[in-house]
Symmetry: C2
Subunit: 464 residues, 2 copies
């Protein structure tokens, strides 16, 4: 006779349903939507999905999961590229995307307090009439909670910093349901351990972020975008290096290699451009400062074979250009119909950028893969999309092999395996290599002290 | 019969002497030099002082202290204003001031790797001919290791960020002697917990910093300083608020109230100034940008009763001015001969700065103390030096009372008890008030996980 042993998660589901009602779902379709992000990690279904709306709900759910030792994975917009939201040990997917309140905007102090499900687009739409903006821009439609959890950055980081530099404080629910406030409204502080920075980039393994206090910035008097094409990759990369070394405060400086440019021309119907290495640039400041910066970079580009700037100063042309840049990942995937892609995220010291990028491209050519490179090169960060045939049984594994080679070169040049996408599942193997076993042991000991039962996003960041 | 029980520290001293020789000192004068910083905390003598020169020595000493459970207090230049270097439970004072190596300067990447005993002056002297500088400037002659440990900032933070934003990575010796590397040479990373930021501001309670990789900045094309005097404090404060809200990237904006200005005129022999509230300003950028910024701030100041800018564009006049600003603490102490001083370090959201400062000054007047205010007002941070008579048995306690009142107002306005001096001994009582018991419990649990025997700078940051 079979006895059905009740699973711990069933007790949690029953208890959570009492206060969430039908916002706790076990429907197959909902669980599938929460089984993965946008990467190639194999999906896993959570046992249930909880659509939370308040900090108190998050706290009660975590206290229950803690008591019953059930895994909890925070879920925002599901745009992770490293398997972060994949519930590899099942349990609950905690969907925070309905927590979209903008609770405070302090125009005088240029800060705001938001809930984690707010996207950067929603926030910027809200702020536009107030003359302010939130600069961190990873391109995709992601939640700001997710951006905090993965230490996101993107195209504007070269000027405004990453999310790390733009968060003043957090509200975090700990593994056992306790709620803490970190940071505050002051612009700086020497007031205890920097818990804010500890939770930023902790990938849901130390707590669940339920409020975020952000720094905002004034919309600059003038913004102007330009495109500059180059006959070769070295010219575009060396223009970036020289620009950064000159200390010119460019707002964005993005590289697209010839393959990526071809993909974007096709996908985003960019007219009048050729498939050659290209820099997309943007300048922010007063009218005089923008003019001064742009002239300086144009002169540097000319020294490296750049073919003159094409300007996009009106909002519409500028938006079309940056939309094309943001769609680069999808454009790349569309380059070879039926293929799928993985992407690297190496970030190196700027002086080694040419070696890192040219080497990575040569490796790709040697291994026979089509790859596109697009990068936040002002920070030394680039993404190489490796396209592979999903019908080739060795395709994905060979793509990972190439990825490992590109990462190894990045590390040997003093760089990191991840500039902005995070560790998740895909980069766990590089973490020890990069930091060494003792630093990793410190990370683990912090993890253990804050989440002794290991219920928060297990299987991420650390290999067992 | 009395038996002399050997103390654990004696075993450590004997073992350390074997490899440090006479760099391990138990001389009374040396121990006295390491018994306190520059604040009013009662001194305590360490049992011995170890003058270390290498990471390996630090590691061996920590391993010994860990085994024998002997306290270790890291010591740099001894300029702490919060009792950080005071060995309240005796043990070893670990003097890192001889570790002054500048190990790498990467001009192309604008970074450097230094040992913790390097002062900012030493580093800037070294960098000057290379066209770069390290901007974080707390004024005093302090070591950069100490600046990291206390999350220091100072006059330039409004433009260049605090030490937190200017450190790329650290080498840290853990409580048991293990050595870890944090961060790296890349400008950003989403590569595991942010251990760099965890050690910055940890005040020697989590590890001992033995290497620091810093971001550097290019020396601007133009730098210009100006002084603007105001008939009242409100005018100077409101000029600051309006300047920050306009997004003008001032490099420094420092407030001296009438009492502080009187003190500086006397102490630093500043000619041609009156003892009225005054802003010291500095602008960095291209010649055009400096001109544009200065004109904008001058117009704002005029709207608030400012009496026109007096310029200091040549290096000598500029240096004299900033030296006077840096000497403000000593000038304040000299205002009433025979008096001593404690200083507040409140930092508030900029919109509340007028209320915080005017309220603090009114409190001081009501309580009968002479106080001077000097502040990094662009960040919302100000120091109020409270002068007290050391011969009055209640003098210090009454000064602390006033301090508590000023901090309480700062906290009620959304600010912090410490913008930059740190917690140490003096601000432990405010830490729980500011962060709440649960956040403090998280800090304690991190402390316990990294230093289970509590040997690293015990008695600081947390009350038992």
């Amino acid at each position: 006779m079979n006895t059905i042993v009740p699973r711990p998660v069933d007790a949690v589901i029953a208890a959570v349903r009492e206060f969430l009602g039908d916002r706790l779902s076990t429907a197959q379709a909902v669980r599938e939507q929460h089984s993965r992000g946008e990467d190639q990690t194999p999906p896993t279904l959570p046992d249930a999905v909880a659509f939370v709306e308040t900090t108190e709900e998050v706290s009660r759910i975590l206290a229950l999961c803690h008591r019953h030792e059930v895994p909890v994975v925070a879920f925002g917009a599901g745009t992770s590229l490293e398997g972060h939201v994949n519930p590899v040990r099942r349990g609950l997917s905690l969907d925070l995307s309905r927590m979209t309140g903008i609770r405070e905007v302090n125009a005088e102090d240029m800060d705001c307090l938001i809930e984690p499900g707010v996207t950067r687009q929603q926030l910027n739409d809200f702020l536009r009439d107030r003359g302010m903006f939130f600069p961190v821009d990873p391109g995709s439609v992601c939640t700001i909670g997710g951006m905090c959890a993965t230490r996101a950055s993107g195209t504007n980081a070269v000027r405004y910093g990453t999310i790390r530099e733009n968060v003043l404080g957090l509200e975090v629910v700990l593994a056992d349901g306790r709620v803490i406030q970190t940071g505050g409204r002051a612009r700086k502080g020497a007031n205890g351990y920097d818990l804010t920075r500890l939770f930023i980039g902790s990938e849901g393994t130390l707590g669940v972020i339920t409020r975020i206090r952000l720094r905002l910035h004034g919309i600059p008097e003038a913004m102007s975008a330009a495109v500059c094409q180059f006959p070769d990759l070295a010219g575009a990369v060396n223009t970036t290096i020289a620009t950064m070394q000159s200390g010119i405060p460019v707002a964005r400086i993005e590289l697209l290699d010839a393959d990526q440019m071809e993909a974007c021309i096709r996908y985003s119907k960019l007219e009048g451009f050729r498939p050659t290495p290209t820099l997309f640039l943007e300048f922010h400041g007063t009218h005089a400062a923008v003019k001064e910066q742009a002239e300086a970079v144009e002169a540097i580009a000319a020294d490296h074979g750049g073919e003159g700037f094409r300007w996009a100063s009106d909002t519409e042309t500028r938006s079309k250009l940056w939309q094309a840049r943001h769609d680069a990942y999808w454009a790349g995937l569309a380059l070879v119909p039926g293929h799928r892609g993985i992407t690297t995220d190496v970030c190196v010291p700027i002086s080694t950028l040419a070696e890192a990028i040219l080497g990575a491209k040569a490796d790709a050519v040697a291994s026979g893969f089509t790859t596109c490179i697009v990068g936040h090169v002002g920070d030394g960060n680039f993404h190489q999309i490796i396209l592979f045939d999903p019908n080739d049984p060795q395709g994905l594994e060979r793509a990972w092999e190439l990825d490992r080679k590109i990462v190894a070169r990045g590390l040997s040049l003093g760089g990191t395996c991840s500039g902005e996408h995070g560790v998740g599942i895909g980069k766990r193997e590089f973490l020890e290599q990069e930091h060494g076993p003792e630093a990793l042991a410190v990370m683990r000991s912090i993890k253990t002290s804050l989440d002794p039962k290991g219920i928060l996003n297990p299987g991420k960041m650390f290999r067992n």
